[in-house]
Symmetry: C2
Subunit: 332 residues, 2 copies
Amino acid sequence: MGGGAPISVQSMTFSKTYDVEATLDQIRRLCSAGCDIARLSVPDQKSASALERIKRESPLPIVADIHFNYRFALIAAQSADCIRINPGNIGGGARVKEVVKACKERGIPIRIGVNGGSLEKRIEAKYGSTAEAMVQSALYNVKLLEDQDFLDIKISMKASDADRTVEAYRRLRPLVDYPFHLGLTEAGTAFHAAIKSSIALGALLLDGIGDTMRVSITSELEEEVRVARAILRDSGRQPSGVNIISCPTCARLQSDLKSAVDEIERRTAHIAKPLNLSVMGCAVNALGEAKHADAAIAFGNRSGLIIVRGKIVGKYDEGELVDRFLEQVERL
Amino acid sequence: MGGGAPISVQSMTFSKTYDVEATLDQIRRLCSAGCDIARLSVPDQKSASALERIKRESPLPIVADIHFNYRFALIAAQSADCIRINPGNIGGGARVKEVVKACKERGIPIRIGVNGGSLEKRIEAKYGSTAEAMVQSALYNVKLLEDQDFLDIKISMKASDADRTVEAYRRLRPLVDYPFHLGLTEAGTAFHAAIKSSIALGALLLDGIGDTMRVSITSELEEEVRVARAILRDSGRQPSGVNIISCPTCARLQSDLKSAVDEIERRTAHIAKPLNLSVMGCAVNALGEAKHADAAIAFGNRSGLIIVRGKIVGKYDEGELVDRFLEQVERL
């Protein structure tokens, strides 16, 4: 993580972590959906103890999410691949020292997870509920680990609004070298969580900020991963699969573009290689877009041109256009 | 538009513009969906001539979208509220002068619409398909209008990728004072267009850039407006209606949070007043988030606290919690 590695996608199981089979089942589903790292919450002793059995069979690295209780952290550190805990709220220096020692021995990192909704009272009193307060909270928690010569740190700073979240990461980026875990907290229902996460995480990814990320959505298990992957792709940070560029319909349109685009999306869903396909409804922008696409259709009046890597390869009737186009795409 | 006015949302009809009834029907649907401005494409003489009848009954201001043909622009300028045309491609200075004269007489603005897929050959040869090329194209077209003492200008610079689009607007912002129309071009199918537009337009809105915007989606007529409104709200640029902050489900959860959130979203959909509601599944972040919310639920074990403007107003069983909560919300 960090140092030029691809940006990894995380999500979180919502089974009771002590229910080993249910948790493994969710981890496997996340894995199939394209998730790189699974986070499991550890709110009690039996969940902490279950991590060993889960880790043994998990197809993904697991992060143990712990609040306040350093003993759960000590147990989790025996098997998890990372501990998420804020050293500032586990009850003092001696406990921080013990947790750090356990993580050092196993060579696993600690993620500091600053949350805009639960800042240290002292910091919130001084800075208010601001991005700067989140930065100060992160720096305070980082220092507690650095004081123990522990440098295997990741940092997240999540607020429930895009503005504060983006500002916090932007302010902290020049101040530390640790990898950043991006996310919003409590982003809401599926539609707005996707939009809000795209705004916040997208703005940061466009800045080149971010090493791993989670999209938080109150929805089905796989949805967080689907949206996270889309944000990575659509921000241009991780090309994967087919990217279809198509124009919105307008009055210049003389063909059923929407059906063609839907069919092309469906019939290219299996392609993993990054390919830019352009499907345009008229000549106004079609030839320009086609230059940047691996393959393109420029629809005309009941027929269309197929263009591959900038060269026109043929003109076909509407009826066979999509089939001929997909032959060219498969060849690529 | 511009100068501190609220950011307006545009969309485009896809009826044949010369079909006056169909076009008016689409404009009315856009208006009901929350659209502020309707753009109509004008690819032929009869569409240009239809604008007068459309304008007479349109509930929204209309923008005539014209490519290449200055005569359509002269007709459109008699009734449209704005002309979108690139003066650089209408065939020389005399024609630019005529179009400017027509717009001046009616006091309507011109939108320069730079498109990454159809840049001036000379500019593309020098700068490549870059953000800077889009900026240079905008400046070239602006100069053609300024040379005629025409300053009632809006500018858009749309590419099909978030990166180039964001960079172009950021580069041009300090160079001119004109209002910016934000958008991506050919953003693709519904899911990816929403994500990609949120990334690009969101990044710009967070920077304080943007005076009007269009989200391009190959989908149903109303979808562009729905996504645009969500981007405005979720970027924090235009609070409206109920904003529900809810945590993603995790193993700490002891209640059916998703059902509660869905029910609250459904039963507050009619509320236009901006309200922040927080629905949290456990105590870890609930009380912190509740401080920033107008009303909040902190679920516990088969019961929950209701918090209004930071004050606990009661603890209720799960069965009646949502009803009691919504009573408090209605009171706000």
